[in-house]
Symmetry: D2
Subunit: 181 residues, 4 copies
Amino acid sequence: MALIEQVMHEVDEVMSLVDESQIDDAEKVIQKDQRIFVLGAGRSGLMAKGFAMRLMHIGYTVFVIGETITPSIQAGDVLVSVSGSGKTGMVVEPTEKAKTNGVKVVAITSNSESPLVAKLGDAVIVVPGATKAGDGVQSIQLLSTLFDQSVHITLDVLCLKLSRRDHISNETAKATHSNME
Amino acid sequence: MALIEQVMHEVDEVMSLVDESQIDDAEKVIQKDQRIFVLGAGRSGLMAKGFAMRLMHIGYTVFVIGETITPSIQAGDVLVSVSGSGKTGMVVEPTEKAKTNGVKVVAITSNSESPLVAKLGDAVIVVPGATKAGDGVQSIQLLSTLFDQSVHITLDVLCLKLSRRDHISNETAKATHSNME
Amino acid sequence: MALIEQVMHEVDEVMSLVDESQIDDAEKVIQKDQRIFVLGAGRSGLMAKGFAMRLMHIGYTVFVIGETITPSIQAGDVLVSVSGSGKTGMVVEPTEKAKTNGVKVVAITSNSESPLVAKLGDAVIVVPGATKAGDGVQSIQLLSTLFDQSVHITLDVLCLKLSRRDHISNETAKATHSNME
Amino acid sequence: MALIEQVMHEVDEVMSLVDESQIDDAEKVIQKDQRIFVLGAGRSGLMAKGFAMRLMHIGYTVFVIGETITPSIQAGDVLVSVSGSGKTGMVVEPTEKAKTNGVKVVAITSNSESPLVAKLGDAVIVVPGATKAGDGVQSIQLLSTLFDQSVHITLDVLCLKLSRRDHISNETAKATHSNME
């Protein structure tokens, strides 16, 4: 079997295990009158950035933790934290601090037993792809590749739901897309 | 039909149209004794970064155009350029310049008629997902979402092929993964 | 003479040649009810980012061209473009495009004869530090180091003027500073 | 007195308090056969990036913690950590971890009593500019502005010393400078 097919088989399996009602729960937490912050390390962080960029396209005020113009996060804000293992220090520690300060947390992880889920998530989306910590559906791919792929698609489904709820067309999103490329 | 299912149907369709022999061609261009540079704008740029990070994990000398410690690109280097439309100015212009200077180009695009393919690619991978310019398989998702998802998986298949060719195990990759998270 | 002293002599010389009334002109262009975008390449780009971060601290809506959540720039927005030579393609081309679209431009450069000044700046601050293109006050330091140092201080003086005009105290700025470090 | 003059007076004062022999100590730790990593948060992080970029220009293998292609840091590597207060969690914690693993640390801070100096630095450069934590020479400028400015110049002096030691000319540095801008 060709390698593309084997990899797609894995992605299909993980996505069939994602509970769409959890995406709906996350959708309810994310509202236009709130500021949305995203947080992730490594390739999970890149997926978080891709999500933030699309949220911007559909009209949200959104910031990436660690980028230049990100202000302090405050009570009433929403933090979307992505960590395959649910244990990454650079994700869990700031999320704990934010939670304590009254920030609402959307936790995205492969590990439903992790601190990110057990203690921190106001909404939780479990994406059970293989991670480098050994969580989730097993994979022929390296490290957390399967988790990254599945998180990417999961967050895009969330964006699609948000754009439909908010009546944002492709044309509207296009007008907000960076015009300096 | 649930939205996850609809989206996966789209991704499955695009991936079934990716020609695995084109991934093999790209694999041949990417060699350990060369420096690999990646280039992309917006969400395509994030996919390029995810690819670069994984190349680093499997032992390549790799740089992201626009990041802090990226040196000048020279004859003999390899440039992997990602653009859905194959026309993004910030991708095509530097790629042309690099090509003129003797750099080998791997072009990743949805648009097989674009300048990136027609004039620049020493190897070309066509990933026919919908883009914001209207290329590729149509999609219910916004802008170039379907292209981004499919490029992500395509580049991961390329990484998997490279890691097998180079005999890099999951453990070896883990040891190179950032330990400061 | 110690090296610190020699370098400070250079910085002092350049800063004595910066015309403070040009900083005042830039101050007038930058208003709280407008969106401010910043643009620069290489180390000039890092100086532009430092400026953007401080603008955020003092309450501006500000974006860095090329970062994740930067939307399209529109008529009525302000673009602060930094280029030592005033000729960097990745700065001048987008600035031209923005200018054509009705964006107001603040140009920061060492080269008062450059396209950035001659054609594009609604306000111009000339910071005549040595650049890698050979402009400005000569320097024992490499490439555009002296320009970078002087731009850094010049943009901080502009921030100080803005914060005083807008009555932003250190405490207010501190409250906006990222609390996730 | 014009504001430029007042600010330059502050920078001159801080730089007169930087002990050039501490820069010489740092120079000894930084060697071409080692990998150099840099770490900093916020505007200090931008200064660390500017330093990394220049180290690359003069021929070092250098990585920015948090950027895409940064590998794991190992015994024998060098970590340059910048924190005004010397207490920033996102700087001190990874530096402690690195130190424990046999990494050599160059600590740059305003606060000579801080954990970064007391416990972690193999070489220490104290740059006593005002920080947002209240360290150092007092300033009319906001937050850690005076520290940032002085760190910028201090690290550039270190680069100048390194380039002279290693016989790197302006022309050689220019050839390594990114040619994709």
